[in-house]
C-alpha cells in the first residue's frame, strides 16, 4: 500500500514537471510593432496608421476599378425603379448582383434628379435627400443617402453592386465586411462632405450610385451616391 502511494507520488511529480515544462515553454514572443512615422506639414513627427487590407484595396481600386465598373453597369434610375417594382428578382438576374442567395440584390444606377426635400435633416446620422427623378413632376420617386451611419439594409450596395467582388477572394467574412466599410467611408469623406444636405434642397443633381434592395417599395429605394454633381453648381 505504502509502495503504491510512493509510486503514485512519483508519477504525480513527473506529470507536474512535464506540465510545468510545457507551461513555461509556451511563451510566444511578440515583437513590439514598430510604428512607421512621418513628418507632417507642420514639421511634427506623426505615426502613420497602417491601412487594413480592405482599406488598402479601396484606396488602390476606387478610381481604377470601382468607379469605372459602376459607370459601365449603371442603369438609368427611372428605368431601374420601374423594372424593380415590376419584378425585383428578374431585374436582379438581368443586371443586378448579390453576395449570396439569401442577400439583397444590389444594382448600379445613374440619373438626373431634383432634391424635393431633406428627411432627418436634424439627425445627421440618418439624413436622406428626397428625389424627384427626371422628367420632373414634383412627386418623390426615391431617396439618396446623405447621412453618417450606413444601415445594414443599404450598406453593401457598392461592394455587391459592382459585381466583381467575391467572398472567396478575401480571408474571411470580416475582411469582406471591412470592404463595405472602406467603400462607405470613401463616400462619406469624398462625396457627402462636398455639400451640406440642407444646401441641396431644390437643386438639380446628376449622380452615379449603388442601391441594395430586398423589396422595391418607395421607403427602400435609397441610393448611395459615388459621384455627385450639382447642375449649374
Amino acid at each position: 500500500m505504502k509502495n503504491q502511494k510512493a509510486v503514485l507520488l512519483k508519477w504525480a511529480g513527473v506529470v507536474a514537471l512535464i506540465a510545468l515544462i510545457a507551461f513555461t515553454c509556451r511563451v510566444t514572443i511578440i515583437p513590439d510593432a514598430v510604428p512607421e512615422t512621418m513628418v507632417n506639414a507642420q514639421g511634427q513627427t506623426v505615426t502613420v496608421q497602417k491601412l487594413s487590407k480592405a482599406e488598402q484595396y479601396a484606396v488602390d481600386n476606387w478610381d481604377s476599378k470601382v468607379i469605372p465598373a459602376i459607370k459601365e453597369r449603371a442603369v438609368d434610375m427611372a428605368v431601374f425603379v420601374k423594372d424593380a417594382e415590376a419584378d425585383l428578382t428578374a431585374t436582379g438576374l438581368k443586371y443586378g448582383n448579390r453576395a449570396n442567395e439569401t442577400s439583397a440584390w444590389s444594382f448600379c444606377v445613374k440619373g438626373d434628379v431634383k432634391v424635393l426635400d431633406i428627411e432627418n435633416a436634424e439627425k445627421p446620422n440618418k439624413t436622406l435627400l428626397i428625389l424627384d427623378l427626371a422628367p420632373y413632376d414634383g412627386q418623390p420617386d426615391g431617396k439618396m443617402f446623405y447621412g453618417k451611419v450606413f444601415s445594414s439594409n443599404i450598406k453593401n450596395a457598392i461592394r455587391d453592386g459592382v459585381g466583381f467582388l467575391h467572398l472567396d477572394d478575401f480571408e474571411n467574412q470580416v475582411e469582406f465586411a471591412d470592404l463595405t466599410t472602406a467603400f462607405n467611408n470613401k463616400v462619406k469623406n469624398d462625396v457627402l462632405s462636398q455639400h451640406e444636405a440642407t444646401d441641396l434642397k431644390g437643386k438639380e443633381l446628376t449622380f452615379y450610385g449603388c442601391i441594395s434592395l430586398t423589396d422595391a417599395t418607395y421607403e427602400n429605394l435609397v441610393v448611395i451616391p459615388v459621384e455627385l454633381a450639382v447642375v449649374g453648381g
Binding site: 439569401t102 445594414s152 467575391h166 467572398l167 467574412q173 465586411a177
Partner: protein
C-alpha cells in the same frame, strides 16, 4: 469488482458519445460532427443534417466534440476508419480544425463545414456559415435604437477560439461605435455559457450599480438568457438585452417582453444545404458552388418572434 464497474461505466460513456443510426452496410455513411447538444442550436444542426441525409438515402453517425479539439480529432479518425462518404462538421476551432480536415481529404473524404469558418481555404469543399457580421449589424442597430442612441452598456462576448465570437463583436461595434453617446462600461467573455453569463452579470451589476447599466448586448442567446435572469433578479425590469442565434428560449423571453431582440441564424437551412451539396459532390465530384457561402441572418423582435420555431421562421 469496482474495476469492472468502472470499466463498464467507461465503456458506456464512450458508447454514449456516438448515436448510431440504422446500420445497414450497403448505404454510404455521412458523419455529422457538432458541439455539445446541451445548446439546442447544435442539436438543430445534427437533427436537420441527419434528417436530410436519411431523405437522400444515407446512413448517418452523429458525434459531439464538446468544443474539445482532441475529441474532434478522434471524431475525424472515426469517420476515416468507417470510410465515410462525407463529413458535415460544426467545428471546434478555426485553426485546430484545419489539420483534421486535411487528414480526411487525404483519405478521400470531403468535409462540409457549417456554422463556423476555419482559417484556410481549399481544404474543405464548402464552408457554409451564417453572415454573422450582417446579423450582428442588424442586432446592434436595433439595440442602439432601443437605447435611444445613448447610455451605458455591457457586452458579453463568446469563446475566443471561435471566429464567430470576434466577428459578432466586431459587427456590434462597427455599428455602436458610430454613436458617441453609447458608452461600453464592461466587456467580458462568458464563453457562450448561460451559467457563466449569469454569474458574470451578477458581479458586473454589483460593481457598476444596476442604475448605471441601461443595456447588455450578448454574443449568443444562451448568454442573453443568463444575463436577463441576473438583471431581473436585480430588479432591472427596463434593461435592454439582445442576443444572437434565434433560440426558442429567447423567442419566449421576447414574447414575455424581457429580452428585446436576437439575430436568427438560418442554421437548419444551412445544415440541410450542406448535406444536399455533399450529396452532389459524392455523385458528381463537384458542387458548382463557391467554397465560402454566407447565409444572411434575420432580426427577431416582438414583431416576428411568434413565427420562430427551432431556428426557422415560418413564412
Amino acid at each position: 469488482m469496482k474495476k469492472i464497474i468502472a470499466l463498464v461505466l467507461a465503456t458506456l460513456l464512450v458508447l454514449s458519445m456516438f448515436s448510431v443510426a440504422a446500420m445497414a452496410e450497403d448505404k454510404p455513411l455521412i458523419v455529422i460532427i457538432t458541439p455539445s447538444h446541451s445548446n439546442p442550436y447544435f442539436k438543430t444542426v445534427a437533427d436537420a443534417a441527419s434528417a436530410k441525409a436519411t431523405e437522400l438515402g444515407y446512413d448517418f453517425l452523429v458525434i459531439q466534440h464538446d468544443d474539445d479539439v482532441t475529441k474532434q480529432s478522434e471524431a475525424f479518425d472515426t469517420a476515416i476508419a468507417r470510410k465515410a462518404a462525407a463529413i458535415i462538421c460544426d467545428n471546434a476551432g478555426a485553426d485546430a480544425t484545419i489539420e483534421p480536415v486535411q487528414r480526411a481529404k487525404a483519405a478521400g473524404i470531403p468535409t462540409f463545414l457549417v456554422d463556423r469558418e476555419i482559417n484556410s481555404t481549399g481544404d474543405a469543399v464548402a464552408q457554409m456559415v451564417s453572415n454573422n457580421y450582417q446579423g450582428a449589424s442588424l442586432v446592434a442597430e436595433y439595440f442602439v435604437e432601443q437605447m435611444g442612441e445613448a447610455g451605458n452598456y455591457v457586452e458579453l462576448t463568446g469563446k475566443e477560439s471561435d471566429t464567430n465570437a470576434g466577428v459578432r463583436s466586431k459587427g456590434y461595434h462597427d455599428v455602436i461605435d458610430q454613436y458617441a453617446d453609447m458608452k461600453m462600461v464592461e466587456q467580458q467573455t462568458a464563453n457562450w455559457s448561460q451559467t457563466e453569463a449569469y454569474s458574470k452579470m451578477e458581479s458586473i451589476i454589483q460593481a457598476q450599480g444596476a442604475e448605471n447599466i441601461k443595456g447588455v448586448i450578448c454574443g449568443n442567446d444562451t448568454m442573453a438568457m443568463g444575463v436577463i435572469e441576473a438583471c431581473l433578479k436585480a430588479g432591472m425590469k427596463d434593461v435592454i438585452v439582445c442576443g444572437f442565434d434565434g433560440s426558442n428560449d429567447v423567442r419566449d423571453s421576447i414574447l414575455r417582453g424581457e429580452i428585446k431582440a436576437t439575430g436568427l441564424q438560418p442554421i437548419a437551412y444551412i445544415a440541410e444545404q450542406a448535406v444536399v451539396q455533399a450529396d452532389a459532390y459524392i455523385k458528381n465530384g463537384k458542387t458548382d458552388k463557391e467554397e465560402k457561402q454566407l447565409m444572411d441572418c434575420v432580426l427577431i423582435t416582438k414583431d416576428n418572434a411568434a413565427k420562430l420555431d427551432n431556428f426557422a421562421l415560418a413564412e
